[in-house]
């Protein structure tokens, strides 16, 4: 009986639905490609022009204003994320503190900055000198040692970094807190049994393990921040989107310039996605018996395998 069955040819399951689906996708792709690259439009005045004006995109893609905007966008992303991560760690540790005043303060911070739109927060920091014309360092309700004029100190750039960073800190606090809570209590106990202090335990044992949980959502936050910096255009910061806006308000080529900006955002976020993969891999150290190969390693293995088939890897 068994031998008989083993001798018969096997027929794999057919998937006609997949072929239909693939065909639909292919047709849609050809249509999209055509309208993107090969179609024209006739304007109300009877003129013919390329639908997406690739020549305009090409002209402005590496223009000064756009490149300078790109640099500012990258700066804002990095600075706001650094501020956000530092605040996030501090707030997460405070939130987990047994002191109710500490955890309460952290709760209040998260509640406020998560509960209001970041756009509103940016406008708020931009106008901060309206409520605090000066900032002074001194003894509370006593003498002041020195004073800063907020109108000149808080430039739009500073307001953007502070606004985006404070907002990010609230989200990062929750991410870091989840990471800390994910670490087994036995880890803290083992570290304490060795005589390690709370701070040493947090730094050497808890946070490194929490990173495995913290890293993936933090990668998302970085990519999200890259795009959120475009809101800084609202407070006159010359970042990427604002650069595009400055050009199209002069030339009225709105769509091509928005595409210029979009392409840059896509390029940077693609690079960040690759970076995210390797960062996550790094922090997975010790969690898996053996690391899965990276895409690059897989590709190499494939080529080596092709060159000497049958050989050992």
């Amino acid at each position: 009986m068994n031998d008989e069955r083993a001798a018969l040819p096997t027929v794999p399951v057919r998937h006609p639905g997949r072929w239909v689906g693939a065909l639909v996708v292919l047709v849609l792709a050809v249509m999209a490609g055509h309208s993107l690259f090969f179609s024209d439009v006739t304007t109300a005045t009877g003129l013919h022009r390329e639908r997406f004006e690739w020549s305009v995109i090409n002209e402005y893609f590496t223009s000064d204003i756009i490149l300078r905007g790109l640099v500012v966008t990258l700066q804002l992303t990095v600075l706001a994320m650094v501020l956000g991560v530092v605040l996030g760690i501090v707030m997460a540790v405070l939130r987990l503190s047994p002191n109710p005043l500490m955890s309460g303060a952290s709760w209040l911070y998260i509640w406020f900055f998560r509960g209001t739109p970041v756009y509103v927060q940016l406008l708020f920091w931009y106008s901060i000198s309206y409520v605090f014309p000066t900032l002074s360092l001194g003894i509370p309700f006593g003498p002041e040692f020195f004073t800063v004029n907020m109108n000149t100190a808080v430039t739009p750039y500073v307001a953007a970094v502070v606004g985006l960073g404070l907002n990010e800190g609230a989200y990062m606090a929750e991410i870091v807190r989840a990471g800390i809570l994910s670490v087994d209590e036995g880890q803290t106990e083992a570290a304490q049994a060795l005589g390690m202090s709370r701070l040493q335990t947090m730094r050497r044992i808890v946070l490194p393990q929490a990173m495995r949980v913290i890293a993936p959502p933090t990668g998302n936050e970085v990519i999200s921040m890259l795009k959120t910096t475009s809101l800084a255009a609202a407070i006159t910061v010359g970042e990427l989107t604002n650069g595009a806006k400055i050009i199209y308000s002069r030339t009225y080529e709105v769509i091509p310039l928005l595409m210029v900006a979009s392409f840059w955002y896509l390029i940077v976020s693609s690079v960040l996605t690759v970076g995210q993969y390797y960062v996550e891999r790094y922090f997975a150290k010790g969690a898996l018996r053996e690391m899965p190969p990276t895409p690059a390693q897989k590709l190499r293995a494939k080529f080596v395998g092709l060159r000497n088939p049958g050989g050992v890897r």
């Binding site: 106990e189 005589g195 390690m196």
Partner: protein
């Protein structure tokens, strides 16, 4: 006779521990001399782990007196007063006591040798190269000289527990606490861990061992303590407690585990 003049390594007098209204320890009295091995046995929930954790101040006792090597756990005597220890002082005391857990609790992001080195380097501030040499010697002593650079996930339970023992020994403790060190192991791996512990006992380490391994208790222990419901029911030599138990509860428990 001279024993009565030496300071006991662990001395407990009427030690109590409550969680809210629940009393986990209801007046523990016991004594472990230097170089002695005490085995703590008893049903689950009887307070064995709680008592071990009190000894290195992972838990704070609610009442009574608990001293390690003559020093009160968690307090410092100054004149006629007891001052509660600062966090830093508590850490220094814990560094003198090794602890081995049922679930190993190795640090998964570090290799075996890094696990062993961490304590001496971060807590004592010892020289890294010297510590590493010592750590490798310790791993060799527990039979793991070929696993020095392995991560915990790459080790069997028995190997992990032996790394955990090496990690505790690296601090050169004067007292070792074991909380059911073989309970999470497959039966065929238990022997290797017990052998390491026997070796330690023979070398004169003072040990308090919570265990269900009656063979180990019989062979190695100087004294056996049977606990139930947060109290010591019976204690004595292994022959007395395991061979000729006096209390019904001890008899019932031994009938179940033997």
């Amino acid at each position: 006779m001279s024993r009565s003049f030496t300071v006991p390594m662990v001395l407990a007098r009427n030690v109590r521990k409550s969680y809210g209204a629940f009393e986990a320890l209801r007046g523990i009295d016991l004594e472990v001399g230097p170089g002695q091995v005490m085995c703590l046995i008893g049903p689950s929930g009887s307070g064995k782990s709680t008592f071990l954790r009190c000894i290195n101040h992972l838990e704070k006792i609610s009442a009574g007196l608990l001293a390690v090597d003559g020093d009160l756990v968690g307090y410092r005597r100054g004149g006629d007063r007891l001052y509660e220890l600062r966090d830093r002082e508590v850490c220094a005391k814990r560094a003198e006591i090794g602890m081995v857990f049922q679930r190993f609790n190795l640090f998964p992001h570090m290799t075996a040798v890094q696990n062993v080195c961490l304590g001496p380097v971060t807590v004592k501030g010892d020289d890294k190269a010297a510590v590493r040499e010592r750590a490798i010697a310790l791993l060799d002593r527990v039979g793991l000289s070929d696993k020095v650079d392995s991560y915990p996930t790459q080790l069997s339970g028995g190997q992990q527990q032996r790394v955990a023992i090496a990690r505790a020994l690296a601090m050169q403790p004067k007292l070792m606490l074991f909380d059911e060190p073989t309970s999470a192991l497959d039966p065929e791996l238990v022997g290797d861990v017990l052998d390491v512990m026997k070796g330690l006992a023979n070398d004169g380490m003072t040990m308090v061992v919570v265990t269900h391994e009656m063979g180990f208790a019989r062979e190695v222990a100087d004294s056996v303590v049977f606990m139930d419901a947060g109290a010591v029911v019976e204690s004595g030599t292994p022959e007395q407690v395991l061979g000729n138990p006096q209390h019904e509860r001890t008899k019932a428990f031994l009938a179940k585990v033997l």
